[in-house]
Symmetry: C2
Subunit: 211 residues, 2 copies
């Protein structure tokens, strides 16, 4: 089971590391962090670099490709989109977290397909031909998209059960003790105080900018 996780400067670390922590525990998993350049990749808050182990050209075909979201995700046509389209031809699952779905859609991979994204970016999927579909995890064919940032853990557990069975997925969940207990109920616009939702709508462009 080969899994390629895309990296790019400005990516959100948890978008990648949440699902990584699940998928890396699949039996026989080989996870590769890939990027336009190999080496340190600066994440969105500026305080952390992850290492891309291979360039896009070096990356072998994978069963699962995952695209994280981030600040200014790569939406412009270019080598990264070429790579995504080629990688997609080999995958069993092509997946994203947060505004990573905008990247997949901009590369033409979600045309006419239902997909989710960060709640502040969901509507933008339509600009790129996808069908905005609210949901923590949305699966349409082999395309599985997750909502904002932390949703990648839920996405990956769902995926783990599909590729390796329920028992394996449950063992991974228990191994990472994923029994979440958020101290507040502010995790979605439907449950957060209205003032907090309004605040984030105003700050939207500093959270991510889809150019």
């Amino acid at each position: 089971m080969k899994i390629n996780i895309l990296t790019y400067d400005g990516m959100t670390a948890l978008d990648a590391i949440g699902p990584f922590e699940v998928l890396a525990r699949l039996p026989g998993a080989e996870v590769l962090f890939v990027g336009e350049r190999a080496g340190p990749v600066r994440t969105d808050t500026g305080h952390l670099a992850l290492m891309a182990a291979a360039t896009l050209d070096e990356a072998p075909p994978a069963d699962i490709v995952l695209v994280p979201g981030g600040f200014r995700p790569p939406l412009a046509e270019g080598p990264l989109h070429d790579w995504l389209r080629a990688a997609d031809r080999a995958t069993t699952w092509t997946t994203s977290v947060c505004v990573g779905s905008l990247v997949l859609a901009a590369a033409g991979l979600l045309t006419g397909r239902r997909a989710t994204s960060h709640w502040l970016a969901l509507d933008e999927l339509a600009r790129f031909g996808a069908v905005p579909t609210p949901g923590r995890v949305v699966v349409d064919g082999k395309y599985a998209t997750g909502a904002g940032v932390s949703a990648g853990i839920d996405l990956a557990l769902d995926l783990a059960a599909r590729v390796a069975g329920l028992q394996v997925a449950q063992a991974i969940q228990l191994g990472i003790e994923y029994d979440p207990a958020p101290p507040f109920a502010a995790g979605s616009p439907g449950t957060a105080p209205e003032s907090i939702v309004a605040l984030l709508r105003v700050q939207r462009d500093s959270i991510f900018v889809a150019e």
Copy 2:
């Protein structure tokens, strides 16, 4: 608000990145990944390296120190424990995720204090003088410990509210869309199927080894 996150070879990536994604969004946050060596730090599954930006000697005093768990966490007396004890004298909060609490306890910082850990390691806290206390997040004085791996997100949101207020913490929660929806209920030994709990007890030593 200065935050130092400890790194070491074999650490579990999500233990650090979950809380990082919350704490880095505190107003004025300066997060530094620190380690015995600066540069790439290999995480437990062998597929990913995070960059330590500064050595322990270079790290300035911080308001919050966070110790992640991992495979073979550093429990032996040495420079890393010296650093932790010195760092602790400057902190407002000394914190851990997963078996990171064993490291804090082994360094003598949790003596007589209530603390939590990964469910498979909870009892071991007593070996190091701490009081094993089941819980997703356990706070005793300025010492805040989280349960296994994914609990770091809950720990950090709790901490965010204590240091920056409820509104800030809620805004961060909504920003990372932390409205978890695990597809299964196997995240704790109390809710997982008994066969899965038994499986993990058998595999315990391959999940982490506290030497």
